[in-house]
Symmetry: C2
Subunit: 228 residues, 2 copies
DNA sequence: TTAACTCAGATTGGATCCAATATACAATAG
DNA sequence: CTATTGTATATTGGATCCAATCTGAGTTAA
């Protein structure tokens, strides 16, 4: 008798589950910055002990998504405007270079996938999904660069600022502009113009940074005013 | 009675101590790639339980310095030649940009410090210190860029390949060339030529990458031959 | 009144114990 | 003799327990 060898999917460790869930919650802005992450509170939510929770928190800390003070606890990391701005500059540098490398290697299939994300981004009514679709669009193009380490770092840097980006996308007219810029980036890729795709990607990211910083400042001004 | 309020140095947590020690050991090449890191072995070395060891290993895993397989254990991460090459490309991109930003902001004091590292690098007879001095030289220049996030990522990317770099520095004539290239970078910085400093930094890193890859290939070929 | 002190509860960091899984080796059937 | 199966040991992942520290309310003294 011969059976197909099925790779029995090891369920992920509890620490990994907690890590992914918290990462997602932070990226999506469900956890406010500065919010305390109590170990046994989280442990109860996942029906585990505090041990895997602590390992997850250590990993998040290494990623810069949370900050820990000994015997005080772990809080969702808060970024200053300067830090947000720097991370967007960083992304602009890295992502423009990666897309330059990607363009000459884009297959028809990959272009088609990017196009699907482009359309999904334009037509999706549920704003809570825009952030994810935005990621998918860009990453589907970057994949072709064949630079896994670069992609990993890009992912990590976007993680740190994604909640701001998502908040801004759904407000102001960030969505409208993003849609037009995505189209332009896609067009440059489709016609094989790597330099233009790189230039547009850089501008796209720095554009978002600028309007996002205005947004953050406003929000902080309001919070300031309310607290008095 | 009034005493000066001294910030009593909280001794670092056990997890942090273990993390730093293992990170250092991996970077310096004291742990061979693929080597198993047994939890209670390490715990005994540091006179602690396995709990802080596990947290340290999680952090190292997040940094990509070790790889973990569930119920099998954690080993020092092994990089393929392609991965090493990609990380050097990444460093070349990032570090050349950072030094470009740094040059116009370099103070006399910072230049002087870089010069001290430059001389230390040339005159230090103990080869085991070269890797650290090399880092110090570059970072002392990068500091002036005022880009802490960029520096953090640079540090993390260097961590992954530093053991290869250090091995190569001490062999072949990597040291001789590095010394000359450092001098040229320093000179460009001293005369305020940001573009040239960037160009030289990029070439410096890619140079190292090339000779290092040759070195790795040779070493693997030897290992291959010996195993037969 | 206000600042310093005390003490109880909450929370984190670490140690020890138990469960799940992998690995190596012995036993056995063909 | 070889391949498979069973079993003991090692190792990791997770739970529970204990110690160290923080926090905040109440108390006291100037």
């Amino acid at each position: 008798m011969k059976l197909e060898t099925v790779d029995i999917r090891q369920s992920a460790s509890a620490a990994d589950v907690v890590f992914e869930a918290l990462r997602k919650a932070i990226i999506e802005g469900e956890l406010a910055e500065g919010e305390h992450l109590r170990q046994d509170h989280i442990a109860q939510m996942f029906n585990t002990s505090r041990i895997p929770v602590r390992e997850a928190l250590k990993r998040l800390e290494q990623e810069g998504l949370v900050a820990n003070e000994r015997y005080k606890g772990t809080v969702v990391a808060a970024l200053s405007s300067a830090e947000v701005e720097e991370i967007f500059e960083f992304r602009a540098l890295l992502e423009s270079e990666v897309i330059r490398l990607a363009v000459p290697r884009l297959s028809e299939e990959q272009l088609a996938e990017a196009y699907r994300h482009l359309q999904a981004f334009a037509s999706e009514p549920d704003a809570s999904l825009w952030g994810e679709i935005n990621r998918n669009f860009h990453y589907s193009l970057y994949e072709a660069a064949g630079r896994p380490y670069h992609l990993q770092v890009i992912r990590s840097s976007l993680d740190r600022v994604d909640r701001y980006l998502r908040a801004q996308l759904t407000l102001t007219n960030g969505m409208t502009r993003a849609r037009a810029e995505h189209q332009a980036i896609y067009d440059a890729c489709a016609r094989g113009d790597a330099d233009e795709a790189a230039r547009l990607t850089r501008a796209h990211i720095l554009d978002a940074s600028r309007s996002l910083l205005v947004f953050i400042e406003e929000r902080r001004a309001v919070a300031q005013a309310e607290s008095h």
